[in-house]
């Protein structure tokens, strides 16, 4: 191999630079799991669907709600256990999860997503925090 010294040294430098983010973070801890403030038990015993479903698919549910409410004029949601709820972010969801900064925002910040609900909708208990 010609110039083997230069190539091998170059390769070592390249690999080092390429993996540098891993070395940089090698000793630091993983990002902390967001700490959610769940609603007080006396308000409501369970969410509209199971916690696992809500965790993975609340955005799908909310999207369906908004389409059905605005476009199909359907106002109530029948959950998988047969209970019916008003389809409303500000009235149904926020009735229990009354503070978005202690619930919604914690995961959204952790995941670096920024839904724009409060650009238009008004957070019932905290109108000033909106926007």
């Amino acid at each position: 191999m010609y110039d083997s010294g230069k190539i091998i040294v170059g390769l070592i430098i390249f690999v080092g630079l390429f993996t540098s983010p891993f070395w940089y973070d090698a000793n630091s801890k993983a990002g902390e799991k967001p700490d959610l403030v769940l609603p007080a038990k006396e308000n409501q015993k369970a969410c509209v669907e199971s916690a696992a479903f809500m965790r993975s698919s609340h955005m799908v549910l909310l999207n369906d709600w908004r389409n059905e409410f605005v476009r199909e004029n359907v106002t109530t949601y029948t959950s998988s256990n047969g209970k019916t709820y008003d389809m409303s972010l500000t009235n149904t969801c926020m009735n229990c999860h009354s503070n978005s900064s202690q619930f919604c925002d914690r995961c959204h910040t952790y995941m670096d997503v920024s839904p724009y609900c409060w650009d238009c909708h008004i957070e019932p208990n905290n109108p000033e925090s909106s926007k």
Binding site: R66, N73, C120, I122, P127, K131
Partner: protein, 267 residues
């Protein structure tokens, strides 16, 4: 099957003539022409059957005889602004309006006579979205952010509006307003039960669909102390709107355009 080139071209020629003949007969057939004209004039059978088959067809009757006696009154406009979080930018250029006032002669441009009834001289008339039967705004909306419900209300889905403003260009009544700026800081008292809008969406009167679905009448109707506005179902022959239209002479804004506006003015 064995086809030589000569035969192939013959078949090709005859089939071209055959296809063209089909198209020609389409163009000259009377039905098609009539259907096209009536559709553009907004009185197409399709529209009529749609509105008759619907259980409800909401409309508004405005009694101008009562309304013009209170010229300075802005109760309906104020109620609407409060209910729907309509901002006040303090200038006309960016104004958002769901109900507003127009001079009589500008409202009914095709009714203008050289010698007009004097009682309407320089009088202001409340105008809103006509929730047309044949809404041009709905036809042009590229995202279906605005559409017509079976009960006739021309709805807005602000989630879906991309702010292209085709609907504003299409609307012959100027009923639609665009949010050039973020409206939230310009709303005096926010009504938490109704969303605000964001910069870059179009908004308009929707006959208070959120109140109608709760069985209430629109906010402006409720606010009018003169009882000059009546809201109801045109497909119910016993409804108050139908009675009023039966007993009084009514006019509509620019009916010649074929949009079939659903706000009736008693004069």
């Amino acid at each position: 099957m064995n086809i030589d080139r000569r035969k192939f071209f013959k078949i090709l020629g005859f089939s071209t003539i055959g296809l063209a003949a089909g198209k020609l007969s389409n163009i000259y057939s009377k039905n098609k022409v009539v259907k096209f004209i009536s559709k553009t004039a907004g009185s197409s059978k399709e529209f009529i059957s749609k509105r008759i088959l619907a259980k409800k067809r909401y409309a508004m009757v405005v009694d101008l005889r009562k309304c013009i006696s209170q010229q300075g009154c802005t109760k309906c406009i104020d109620a609407c602004n409060r209910t729907h979080n309509i901002p006040d930018f303090g200038e006309d250029k960016d104004e958002i309006k769901w109900i507003w006032k127009e001079p009589y002669e500008n409202t009914f441009v095709d009714q203008e006579n050289f010698y007009m009834t004097e009682k309407y001289n320089d009088k202001m008339v409340p105008v809103f979205c006509n929730n047309c039967d044949n809404p041009p705004c709905v036809n042009v909306c590229p995202t279906q952010a605005t559409w017509q419900r079976d009960d006739g209300i021309v709805m807005m889905d602000w989630h879906r509006c991309i702010g292209c403003r085709y609907c504003m260009a299409a609307c012959p009544y100027g009923s639609r307003s665009f949010n050039w700026r973020d409206p939230r800081p310009f709303i005096k008292n926010i009504n938490p039960d109704f969303p605000t809008r964001m910069k870059g969406v179009v908004e308009k009167c929707t006959f208070c669909d959120e109140r109608v679905s709760q069985g209430l009448s629109p906010a402006c109707v409720e606010a009018c102390t003169e009882k000059a506005m009546v809201f109801g179902n045109l497909n119910d022959s016993e409804s108050e709107v139908r009675q009023l239209l039966k007993e009084n002479f009514s006019i509509r804004r620019k009916p010649g355009l074929g949009t079939n506006p659903e706000i009736y003015y008693l004069v």
